[in-house]
Symmetry: C2
Subunit: 709 residues, 2 copies
């Protein structure tokens, strides 16, 4: 069911309504009145006649009119019975405030399951439990009891009431922005993150979605919705619970599945989500994205009234991947004409006192700079807003003039401007004006730079999202009957692991270059196979009972002569029997030795939160010792495959070093895509392991492959 | 000369004094009057009779009384003549404000040299040029013209006037702290950073030194002074100009040598400097260190009135290396007694609404927590300071009560408390009180955590500084006469490179385990040497004209039989002659093959800013492709050697992996120390290169060595 009827509820029951002003059951009603909630308010309390003028009902089912939403403000153990009553009444949704559910351990978990099953029986959708509530700032449906939250176009989803309060307070103190809705997700027992995303995507009153997340119960669906949403509206997200202590804290806080895995970072980015690391940058990022156009080309100018701020800003922007390029010559020439001799007219621009007598010079400079076609945004750092305070009041009027000009410039050129000002918190009128024009103003250079940073990141994403996958599997679409038969045969035999040659056959069916092989039963057959391959060969034991062939001494390499082959055959058989006397031995696999190249490892597995993921790294020390690997949520696109190959630190080894030729990156990319296709084709697969794959100067060879069901 | 007479000048001449209120030559005199400067004020302007009641002199030498200090507020080109005049008058120091010196390129550089040479002639010490000035807030010697800077115990050294203004403004808005001195270092033409450090170390009014640095002209002396200073007083430093654009900006700003090298990070830390990366954490770090004791054991507790803030704080502290350990059982039990059932009484503590009715509970919890012997500090996150604002005024009085208790607790237990509060900027009285007790309060969790972080970092340093070197070379103290003779001989021959066996001899003299060798002239001698070594041997060409032996095909390895040795000898000789027909060939070096082990590389060079430094890495891909190396400024201590070995990412390889035994880390450490000793012993050495060194399970072998003078 759509969340529309709940989040825009036209009638609300307050279960646990109270006359005590310290109780939530009173505060909520008072706030609904103060915020002029457009719908109907029904207090529920068997002991009271009326509260704040509203007639009390004995129970939800006693309420005279229809009820869209119930706020349940009573203790945990009372919730199931109240929900039953709500169900009978036909209530569409409920906000459950109480703690004492999944976050409190096993018993609480059982209670939560009970609540969810009652809700499902009646089709009630649940926000919470363990939440501070929700607010619809448009209709005044404020079930949080928090007053004076500013209205605006930011949709807020938070797993912590305090973080929501922080963000709302920041909005009021440091911007002119506000919120369309606030949702306290709580334990995510019924409605999940992705459903709220979908709602906000379709809500015309929401321009940006701001999220604080500790854990997530349906990661893949979230990615799918995020992918669809971020193309239309930016999503800004802070994920806490990265550290062990943080996870412990989050667990006791929201009962969230602790710690989204390492996979999440790249997955979120691929889904277009702007991931924020520092909590004090979270609101500024949302503010910026809600009011300013993204950067067109990732290049900006810095305009400063002093060198130190410019230097710091240049460092930070560089670390954020934002370019601060040279200006066109005409830009420098024009700046030179209006700035004093000591000024730096290169990027970063330092006005060197030029604005001391007339801050409108900021606007003149900005106008010249933003006309430069290679510059797609502007960061002003320094004292703007403080000239009137610090030097002379009349300069304040000139600053206002400049603020109007800067604001109009943003609209006219569709290029963003962000300000750092030492006087951001001074509540000077010029700063107020800038904010009126959607120009963020912060007194931290780090934060101001981050605002530019997210405009760059979102701009980049919009230029490239079409090449990304949407995290949706087309399960089984390229399924091959012969491969299905291999899985069936294994199942019939009670195996959950494919034999090496079976796994390789499946790879071959999907166009991956496996090394040819022959399964042989006798030494004579092995010799014949080697002759056919015209190459030194490898012999490997094949048995569903021997998973780790090397441990069983079941592998021999570089066999050249017939004598070597026969001897190896005999030894392997003997070793296998010694290793596991009752092993079901299917024979020995003969393959030609692979050519030289770089060993890489590819694996896939099912992540708890995101489903199938793929891992890639360079074999040996790089993976085993340095843990230098890249992860991606499957399916992947060609661009993703390329990026994951290039993001490992040891990538230069693949590029070719110390006289060794480069490896065939294109072949490797094709193999990663084949892995993606294979996982998509066979829902049976739980884990795959290609170890090693040898990447040659031209092409590659899958030397060993394992598939686990 | 000590800076005492200058920074505490008792008389000051204002050269370029003016009656125009927009001019620095007026503003400075006005500020000196307003700040009640205790010394004498002498305006200098040939055209004026008096300014603000002070009689004007025609020139500095015309001033009736003695003059300690001159503020020169006239354009760059006038400075040399004015300094001459100051010199004749016996002025001790001068602040030169003008721009137009080294930061403006070659011509400006020449002018700066001229200024410095005049200053040296007369023994005048110079602050600047290209500076905003200096302030002594104790005596009111304010040569910046900035009013209302708060007085306190932080000594401020900045290479940007705007950054100084930022820090001073932050102090006023966000703390009760202030400054003892401000020094605008400018171009560092005469007085260098380290001299200011020395001054502040000896100044009883300064408790913390706060620095903003873009570049530095005497890095090693700075490290030496920092080492001495940080033991007594914390030094907090932000270094900008890390990125290419940042360096460009810094260069045009202060003419500083762009970008302190990568070496600086570890060097600063070894010298006890608290290096800050984010500009908005700079002042908070100084504030914290000036008022609170460092952490005794790096472990703290988090006390929260909501889960989200606690989770975020736990993440950040963990990233800062601060422990958030479990409490003692008695601590949990005591907390359980006073907190509601839903509270988390583990670390992080979540009071779960327990403070809603009575915020003094914060103090009760803090008291219990700080009695836990394993907890050496406390971070409180959430809404403290806002209870009186948000809920009920009476709660504000309880918050004041709690603030007093918290403040006294810090003093009594000598354990620091830091607060994050959403209401930090609300100017609530409880927050004011906390600051009165030196408890920092910030509305950014990141910043509050960083405050705890720097207390941990400084505490760690004080526990370990004794094991660190003081960056002072005892040049030549362990000089060996035989080694000196090798250098002399090379010089006599006009060489700046020692031959391989010469370099190895020097290493051997300092106890490093070089592989033995024989320099032979004939194949017969080579065979005899091999017999003596009882091992396969390596043959290498020895010629001052062939630096890259492999390029000249001058190396042959694994030679076993006499025939192989003779043939290799002949081939090497032939190859060398083909490579460079007129090469001065000294013979061929015969050495036994080294045993198996891990190849490492050690090198030393002279860094522009810090002097001799040493580099270490694991040979092959790790150094050449992954650039995985560690640097240290020499000399190094045993602890530094250990740390630098362990900080490379590929260290696990040395620890032994994939069935290979661990390498002899102790031997490697001894070799690094020997390198340190050798560089210290021979001022002749410009560069050393040990490549490769093979580290065995027991001991190591220096296979090749190069020393460049």
């Amino acid at each position: 069911m759509s969340l529309e009827r709940i989040l825009n509820a036209e009638s609300v029951a307050i279960v646990g309504a109270s006359k005590d002003p310290t109780k939530r059951g009173f505060q909520t009603i008072r706030t609904l009145v103060e915020e002029k909630y457009e719908g109907k308010i029904y207090p529920v309390n068997p002991k009271e006649k009326s509260i704040l003028g509203f007639a009390c009902s004995k129970s939800v089912s006693d309420i005279p009119g229809p009820v869209d939403m119930a706020l349940i403000a009573t203790p945990a153990k009372t919730v199931p019975a109240i929900l039953e009553d709500c169900g009978r009444k036909g209530v569409k949704g409920a906000v459950i405030l109480a703690v004492g559910f999944r976050e409190m351990g096993h018993e609480g978990g059982l209670l939560e399951e009970q609540v969810v099953s009652v809700a499902q029986k009646y089709g009630i959708r649940i926000i919470g439990p363990n939440t501070s509530g929700m607010m619809n700032l448009k209709t005044g449906l404020n079930l949080v009891g928090l007053r004076d939250a500013p209205r605006g176009d930011i949709g807020l989803i938070s797993q912590s009431g305090n973080m929501a309060l922080t963000l709302i307070t920041e909005a009021r103190l440091k911007s002119l922005k506000g919120f369309s809705y606030y949702i306290g997700v709580g334990n995510e027992s019924d409605i999940r993150f992705h459903e709220y995303l979908e709602f906000f995507r379709n809500d015309p009153g929401t321009k940006v979605i701001l999220m604080y997340v500790e854990g997530m119960r349906a990661g893949r669906k979230f990615l799918q919705q995020a992918y669809k949403t971020s193309i239309e509206k930016p999503i800004v997200l802070l994920k806490s619970g990265r550290s062990a202590t943080g996870q412990k804290s989050a667990g006791s806080h929201t009962g969230a599945l602790a710690g989204i895995s390492e996979v999440s970072r790249t997955a979120f980015a691929r889904a277009g989500i702007i991931v924020i690391e520092k909590s004090d940058q979270l609101f500024p990022a949302a503010e910026t994205l809600s009011g300013l156009p993204p950067l067109k080309n990732g290049n900006v100018a810095i305009l400063a009234d002093g060198g130190g701020h410019a230097t710091i800003a240049a460092d930070i922007l560089s670390e954020l991947g934002i370019g601060v390029p040279e200006f066109a010559e005409t830009t420098c020439a024009k700046l030179k004409r209006i700035l004093p001799g000591a000024a730096s007219v290169c990027n970063p621009v330092d006005v060197a006192g030029g604005t001391d007598a007339d801050p409108t010079l900021f606007a003149d400079c900005a106008d010249i700079i933003l006309k430069d076609p290679n510059i797609s945004g502007l960061l002003i750092v320094g004292l703007f807003g403080g000239y009137g305070i610090r030097f002379a009041e009349s300069l304040g009027l000139k600053e206002e003039d400049a603020a109007h000009q800067l604001g109009r410039m943003v609209r006219k050129r569709n290029k963003p401007i962000v300000l750092h000002s030492l006087y951001a918190s001074a509540k000077a009128h010029p700063i107020h004006l800038l904010r009126y024009y959607n120009i963020p103003v912060y007194d931290s250079i780090d934060i101001a730079c981050k605002c530019i940073g997210v405009l760059g990141e979102y701009g980049n994403y919009l230029h490239s999202y079409h090449a990304k996958t949407n995290f949706v599997f087309d399960w089984g679409v390229r399924r091959k009957p012969a491969a299905v038969e291999i899985f069936r045969q294994a199942k019939r035999e009670g195996r959950n692991v494919l034999l090496e040659h079976e796994a390789k056959q499946i790879f071959a069916m999907h166009g991956a270059p496996v090394i040819p092989d022959r399964l042989v039963k006798t030494a004579g057959e092995a010799v014949a196979a080697a002759r056919e391959f015209k190459s030194d060969v490898v012999l490997k034991i094949v048995s569903p009972d021997i998973l780790h062939k090397s441990d069983a001494k079941g592998v021999r390499v570089k066999l050249h002569t017939e004598k070597e082959i026969r001897q190896a055959f005999a030894e392997i058989m003997a070793n296998a029997k010694a290793y596991k006397p009752d092993a079901d031995i299917r024979g020995i696999l003969v393959s030609p030795m692979a050519q030289e190249g770089t060993e890489v490892i590819i694996g896939t597995k099912i992540d708890d939160q995101f489903g199938p993921v793929v891992m890639f790294g360079i074999g040996g020390i790089m993976v085993e010792v340095l843990k230098d690997v890249a992860f991606r949520v499957l399916p992947i696109s060609n661009a993703s495959a390329k990026k994951m190959i290039r993001e490992i630190r040891s990538y230069p080894i693949l590029r070719g070093t110390r006289g060794r030729p480069p490896s065939d990156e294109k072949a490797l990319r094709r193999l990663l895509l084949a892995c993606s296709e294979i996982v998509e084709s066979y829902v049976e697969i739980r884990e795959m392991d290609l170890n090693p794959v040898i990447v040659h100067e031209k092409g590659l060879s899958i030397v060993d492959a394992r598939i686990i069901m």
